[in-house]
Symmetry: C2
Subunit: 138 residues, 2 copies
DNA sequence: CGGTATCCATTTGGATACTG
DNA sequence: CAGTATCCAAATGGATACCG
């Protein structure tokens, strides 16, 4: 499949499905961190990711595990120890993620600039035309 | 920046920010379709994307335009004609998207399989242990 | 045609408290 | 330590109606 097949609805399912996992904020972070840690413990991972709640990290890890991207190993000790790592499948995902990561680093500045220009223009228009707020946040 | 910098919180901002745009269902679809259309009209685009509402397509396009990824050209005719296309910046994004698209095509089957195995195991465990529903959807 | 405005159900996710 | 359960506020997004 390639971008050429975009209009083929049935072929979009895979992409949609994968995006629902990759697309969320925390999944990419988790995969990114796991990519350079062989294994890592829950709280260690939590501390590495700025702003993630325990609930969301648990949910994210469960979903990644369910999709066969992440392994979860429980060591029956006291206190309990649980280690997470990437599966073979998960490791193959680091390449496209890396590509996206590189793109972000390279072009984030351009996006910030574009937003500033857009917002300034919108503000100027809004000052003259009280109408048309473009869904006014929604 | 690379995956090696994941733990550096400040460097994660760019990735997070880009993911908030790329991550959502419709943005990737829109960029994918625009990538092979030079320009395309609103309703033509809407028909190409299975299941998108007018509201969401408008919102998606506005965000992409704001981020400098998409151009919006209004032709003052009756009936009105509006054409969308990728900017130069938007075109550079098609490469990482293509990589992700290829990955999806290649590994979607493995994900589906992994889910089936995981769910079967979970169901079996749940049958014995009424407790522990792993957030029981939420 | 290409939107915008509004209403409203569903989803999402943080905060908090509790557990083996 | 590594979760789970529950509550609840905010964001998300579909449906519908209307407009230049």
């Amino acid at each position: 499949m390639s971008l050429q097949d975009t209009a083929d609805r049935s072929n979009c399912t895979a992409m949609s499905d994968v995006l629902n996992r990759i697309g969320d904020k925390w999944s990419v972070m988790v995969v990114g961190i796991l990519a350079r840690h062989d294994t890592i413990r829950f709280n260690e991972l939590k501390r590495s990711i700025n702003g993630v709640s325990q609930r969301m990290l648990t949910l994210t890890l469960r979903n990644l595990e369910r999709d066969g991207l992440v392994t979860r190993t429980i060591y029956p000790e006291v206190p309990p120890r649980v280690e997470y790592g990437l599966t073979q499948l998960g490791k193959t995902l680091t390449n496209p993620i890396q590509a996206l990561w590189n793109w972000s680093a390279e072009h984030h500045g351009a996006i910030i600039d574009a937003r500033a220009i857009y917002d300034q223009r919108e503000t100027a228009i809004a000052a003259e035309q009280p109408r048309k707020a473009a869904y006014a946040r929604g």
